[in-house]
Symmetry: C2
Subunit: 211 residues, 2 copies
DNA sequence: CGGGTTATTGACGTTCCAGTACAGAATTGA
DNA sequence: TCAATTCTGTACTGGAACGTCAATAACCCG
C-alpha cells in the first residue's frame, strides 16, 4: 500500500546526455587515461553526483559502452536497411564510407567496441561480453545485408553471409586503426574498393557494372 | 686523449631483455594502465635502475615500441621472403596465419603498433610516427610480396601492390581486434580465406588451384 | 508555507603513482 | 688493498586520483 509519498528534488540533468558525454570522453582518452575529473568536466556533473548516479568510474564506463551499442547498432541497421535490389550498393557504401568517415572526424574515430577490445580486452569480465556482442551484432547486420544481396542476385548464392560479415567488420575495424595511425585516406579508400571488388559478386553484377 | 680511466661496475642486466619484458608489460596492460611498479616487477629492475637507464616511463615506452618495430618488421620480412613462384602462397599463409596466431597465444595477441594506435593515437607526438611507420612498413612488405606474386603471374599485373598491402594489413589489424573481443576462430579463418580468394588473382592461378 | 525527501556540491582522506635522492654494493685499475 | 666509478635498491616527496561525507539546495505535497 502506497501511502502518500513525498516528492523529492528531481535530477537536473538528462541521463542520456551525460552518458553521451562520458562515452565521448572515454573514447577520447581511453579507460585508464580518463579521470573522474575529466568525466566531471565533460558531463558537467560534480564528482559526488557522478558517484551517486552512476556509482563510480567503472559502472559508468559499462553504461557508456552499452549506450554506444544501443545507438550504434540501430544506426548501422538503418544504414544497411532497404530493398534487396540495392543491398549490394549499401554494402559497397558501407565499406568505402567506413574508410572515409574514419578519416573525417578529427577525433572520435572508429568503433568504440573495437577500441576497448584493445584496451581492456578480456581482462574486464564485465566489459568483454558487451564488446563481443557489439562486434558480433555488427557482423550479423552486414551478413543480413549480404543475404539481401544474394536474394537480388548480386552476390553468389554459395557464399556464406556470416563470412562476408566477418570479413567486412574485421576490415572496417582495421581501417579504424590505420586511420588513427595516420595512414592516408587514399590508401584506405583504395583498400576498401579492392575489398569490395573481391567479394563473391555474381557475374551478373560485374557485367552490369563494368565500363 | 684518454688518460687512464677507471672501470666501473657493469650492468647486471641485458638491455634487450629488459626492453622485451617492458614491451610485454605495456602490451598486456596498456600505457596508462602500466605502473612503474609493474615494469619493475616485469623487468626485475628496481625503480631507480629503470629510471637511471631509461629515464622514466614514457621514454621506456618509446624504446619498447621501437624494439617491437625492429623485431617485428624483419620477422615479417623473413616470413614473406622467398622465390616469386611461391609468393602468392606466402601471402595466403600470412592472411590465414594471422587469423590463427592471433587466437593461439592466450595473451599478447595482435600487433603492438595497432594496439597503441588505438590507445595513444595521435595524442602522443613521439609515439605517433613510430606507430605509423611500423604499420606503413608492414604494408610495404606485403606490397613487395604482392609484386613478387605479380612477377610469377599469380596476381593480376594491373593490380596496385600497395593497395593489396593496405587491404591485407588493415584486415589483419582488424583480426587482432576481433580476436581480443573473443570472436571465434572459425569466423576469422573463413574471413581470411574469403579475403584471399577476393584478391586479384590471375585466372591462371585460379585454374591451377581449383578442384 | 513548512516538512520530508532526494539531488548537488565541494572539500576531505586514503591510496597510489611518478620521479628523486641517497646510501650501499660491485667491479676494475693502480 | 684502495680508489674511482657506476650500478642497484630503498625510502622519500609532491601530486594526482578515487571514492566519501556532511552540508546545502530544490522540489512536491499537504
Amino acid at each position: 500500500m502506497a501511502y502518500t509519498v513525498q516528492m523529492a528534488r528531481p535530477r537536473s540533468f538528462d541521463e542520456q546526455t551525460v552518458l553521451d558525454a562520458a562515452m565521448r570522453q572515454f573514447r577520447l582518452t581511453g579507460y585508464a587515461g580518463t579521470t573522474l575529473d575529466d568525466l566531471s568536466a565533460a558531463t558537467g556533473l560534480g564528482r559526488g553526483s557522478l558517484y551517486a548516479s552512476f556509482s563510480g568510474k567503472h559502472p559508468l564506463f559499462l553504461r557508456a559502452l552499452t549506450t554506444y551499442a544501443e545507438q550504434g547498432l540501430p544506426a548501422l541497421e538503418r544504414f544497411l536497411a532497404g530493398p534487396d535490389e540495392s543491398a549490394v550498393d549499401r554494402l559497397r557504401e558501407f565499406l568505402v564510407g567506413s574508410a572515409h568517415s574514419v578519416l573525417d572526424d578529427a577525433e572520435l574515430k572508429g568503433c568504440m567496441a573495437g577500441q576497448f577490445a584493445h584496451e581492456v580486452g578480456a581482462r574486464d569480465a564485465k566489459a568483454a561480453p558487451i564488446i563481443r556482442d557489439t562486434l558480433l551484432g555488427q557482423q550479423c547486420l552486414v551478413a543480413a545485408c549480404a543475404e539481401a544481396a544474394q536474394r537480388s542476385g548480386d552476390i553468389e548464392p554459395s557464399a556464406d553471409p556470416m563470412t562476408i560479415g566477418g570479413l567486412v567488420i574485421s576490415l572496417t575495424r582495421g581501417f579504424d586503426i590505420m586511420a588513427k595511425a595516420g595512414i592516408d585516406r587514399d590508401t584506405l579508400d583504395a583498400a576498401a574498393h579492392q575489398a569490395f571488388t573481391g567479394l563473391p559478386l555474381t557475374s551478373r553484377y560485374r557485367e552490369r557494372h563494368s565500363p
